[in-house]
Amino acid sequence: MRHELLLAVAAMLILIAEIFTSPARRKSINLFAITLFAIITIAGFIPVKPVGALFGGMYVSTNVATLMKNILNIGVLLILIQSVTWLKKDENADRVSEYFMLIMSTLIGMDFMISAGHFLMFYIGLELATIPVAALAAFERYKNKSAEAGIKLILTSSLSSGILLYGLSMIYGTTGSLYFYEVSRLFTGSSLQILGFIFFFAGMAFKISIVPFHLWTADVYEGAPVNITSFLSVISKGAAIFIFVIILYSVFPVIMATWQKTILVTSILTMTIGNLFAIRQQNIKRFLAFSSISQAGYILVGMIGGSQLGMASVIYYILVYIFSNLGAFGVVIAISNATGKENIDDYNGLYKTNPRLSLIMTLALFSLAGIPPVAGFFGKFFLFAAAAEKGFYFLVLVAVFNTIISLYYYLLVVKAMFINKNDDPITSFRSDFPTRSALLICVAGIFITGFASVIFEVIKEISFGN
């Protein structure tokens, strides 16, 4: 519970702080908010008795949930640090505290969602995690694209939660309860329940952007401000996947064969279509959007086994994915802040002018592609191992082929930076301290999560512990 309480207090404090600062000193709220959030992140790791239930079992705190919240906190901290430069621009300076308040309330929603023990708590958390993000996507109200991204996000997400709720109402009608443990006990797998489950799956698939329901992703990612795009692709997606794994494993174990088939088809579609569309993208944000769709496909491969190893590998992969994707987005943010350029062609010859940025980008893309020395390889390895353990060899084969396709388009960006010639390259610039430190943390994270096997051991131990 401490995550949610601390976040709520911090969000209020930031709003109050805005009242007491003169408009000239508004920018100091950045430092205040990030310090507060860093304290929350550290406080999340303090080992206090985390297991228990509140509100008559609607809120359940477990070791796994605490671990997931801590991982999300790390990601959000990195995003907040990365967005300082953007927030210091004159056109955003009057809404700094709103930005932090909205991000923190989103995170509260995700925390409640992860800890839910009842579908009502899950639904409220889900909505609290999506509605503020729509406001954030439309944050740059002086830009047409931003407003368009906002409306696309809010309409698709409300449609998807409507579909999800319709499924929940069927599950309620057949089981008579909405508590996770009672639903799993009373679930028999009758046709109406399976129909309800499919509606539920479709609603969640919208949130995770699994392929038949992915059409909003690219547009929203392109239109939203870059740091919100990274938030959407890493934190929103990560939180939705966490709760999806928990619900699939703990509420629907009875119809495991059914959801394994569903996941088998959707994950193959997600990986393949995400990869094929990524190849032809010109805008780097759209490119990363499709890459994140295909990453969701790989994560589905890890989930399919239904084993505790699957849960551990998914959590570990999200941790790795946070560092890798935020590394890539950090470079995009730095370049977008300095020059406003967002096309892959603009990156031609980047190595000549900004060698360090292009090295970080290369490293992050290698990690996303899963090339051995960096963390992404181990993440993918555990995901595929979890699926292979349960005998899904064909799926693993498809996933490995897709990794090869993804290598092609990740290397296209690397080639643009290192080999392609450009008469008018991005000029050499030096980013400010927050951007650089966030990038450094990402690089360190990419290496440490890969090489320190103790991290995976800890995650595995915690996910087997429950």
């Binding site: 509605i131 406001a135 439309a138 991204a149 809010i154 309409l155 579909i163 319709y166 929940l168």
Partner: protein
């Protein structure tokens, strides 16, 4: 307590409302109308929850509470959506989705 109307009637009504909502969402081109279609979907879910609760599980109030929360959340969703729609009207001077298409595949 059963007033004579069978449970199926409510479920059929909810199903019709749900699909009318989905159809409206996919075919209407006005952003406000699309928002109304989403409200229709959410209200059909409310009817479902209420009917199930009253007919099948009258000793517990879970369905009633769920629909109360759905109403509240739908209101906040509509508030944010309408704020964004107003912003879109200022930027594009239209709320027709066909014209709000700066980004395409």
């Amino acid at each position: 307590m059963n007033s004579g109307i069978p449970l199926q009637f409510f479920l059929i009504l909810a199903t019709i409302m749900f699909f009318v909502g989905v159809y409206g969402f996919l075919t209407r081109r006005n952003l406000i109308t699309m928002l109304m279609s989403v409200e229709l979907i959410l209200n059909s879910v409310n009817i479902n929850f209420m009917a199930f609760n009253r007919y099948l599980f009258p000793h517990k109030m879970e369905g009633m509470f769920f629909s109360l929360f759905i109403i509240a959340v739908a209101a906040s969703e509509a508030a944010v959506a309408i704020a964004i729609i107003i912003n879109i009207y200022r930027r594009f001077t239209t709320i027709n989705v066909e014209d709000v298409n700066e980004m395409k595949y």
